[in-house]
Amino acid sequence: MVSMIKKALFFSTLLLWCSGATHAADSWQDLRKAIEQKGQKGAGSGQHQPNPGGGLDLGVLRTLTGFSQQEEVAIGRQAAGNILGAAPLVKDDKLQKYVNRVGRWIASQSERSDLDWHFGVIETNDLNAFAAPGGYVFVTKGLYRSLQSESELAGVLAHEVGHVIKKHHLKILQQSRVVDMGSKVLTQKVGENEHIKNLIGNGAEIFARSLDKNAEFEADRIAVIVAARAGYDPFGLPTVLQDIGHVAKDDSRVSLLFKTHPHPDDRLAQLGEAIGDRLDGLKGQTLENRFYRIKP
């Protein structure tokens, strides 16, 4: 089963790769224009203004991923709105506020502290967490309930922050964009929202897609370090992974997680190799007592 998925992934990646970037340019300009117009109208929250000089930052970003920060936020906002359509926020403002404080503190230790970060716990018993481009991060209630300390929460959020700062989902979108070009959808003169929707796909499908497993390992490595920088015990995430590793594969609460991520045991092994003795002697807070527990 796993090898089948891997094979399928491999081929789809190959396919995306082969489709090449031949038609990309015009339609891409369209999308960019559309998003920039949207930005100037003030949509979104606290978006960064377009860089008038087209200066270094944006230039570098585009070279790396093809998306400006403004585009990234617009895409992330749409994706975040979509996933909230599938699973709304847990109705507990204290919880949400708490998660935002932990998350913001974690994100502040990353190189993208400037983003407007948003965190939320969503109403589903699944064990999972999601990151959308631009700094939208969601943890499921099922996963939150399994946590035992603030440092574990910090570890989970830091993994998602890792995806955002490395733009892992944007890179996937960029690949799929290449496929979309062939479908002429983007070349039609449709509204800017349509452009973004076309890019993201149906609903919150983007969150059901697998990232490259190395992207997951990378996010794990980032997570322990960012948590350590924030003053937490860096082993929050590994502890969570050990717990998740115990859930049976056929448990429906982890089916999406296990489908889209390497097995926790493999993640722990990779992480162990990367850490070696690097974190020895790095103590940190676990803050079990401050950890906000959801009322049963």
Binding site: N82, R101, S146, N214, G281
Partner: protein, 173 residues
């Protein structure tokens, strides 16, 4: 009075029994590693584990487990140990219940009815919800607020360099 006392005795006995059960979480060594006298790498070596050794996990501290094994007791790095049974689990998060370090009992994920999981189909069918999105955005914490919150928890920011990928998977970046 007597009844109350015997109730208390019973309760204590019960709690003790529960405590013992909880402390008896088992694990397996994923790789060969040293057993240390204390939870840090430079501590005195008091024994060693080989891959596949069964251990009993007594306590967790930072990245370390205090373990008991037929080869002796000591501290071993948590990433050298796989907690609980092998991958084929029973459906429960057994490990969460285990450790004696204050994790007793609170960690089991209770599958409540009525709320469904997020399947791929549900994600695909999801409709954009502006109201909830606005709500998330209204609950954001500012950087300054997060800094105050960190200070309250005695979280002190420090410099730590990122990890590089293990050699076997290099070239991914």
């Amino acid at each position: 009075m007597n009844a109350a006392r015997s109730m208390t005795a019973l309760l204590v006995a019960f709690l003790l029994a529960v405590g013992t059960t909880l402390a008896a979480e088992t694990g397996t060594a994923l790789k060969a590693d040293d057993l240390k006298a204390e939870p840090f790498r430079d501590a005195k070596k008091v024994g060693s584990l080989t891959a596949g050794d069964n251990v009993e996990i007594l306590k967790k501290q930072g990245g370390w487990f205090q373990v008991k094994s037929p080869k002796g007791s000591g501290w071993v790095h948590m990433l050298s140990i796989r907690r609980g049974e092998a991958r084929k689990g029973s459906g429960e998060i057994a490990g969460v219940l285990g450790l004696a370090s204050g994790r007793a009992g609170t960690g089991s994920v209770v599958a409540t009815t009525g709320i469904r999981g997020l399947s791929e189909e549900e994600l695909k069918a999801a409709k954009y919800n502006e109201t909830e999105l606005k709500k998330v955005e209204s609950l954001a914490a500012t950087e300054a607020e997060a800094r105050r919150f960190a200070a309250e928890g005695k979280l002190v920011a420090r410099k730590v360099e990122y990890l590089s990928a293990p050699k076997a998977t290099k070239g991914e970046r």
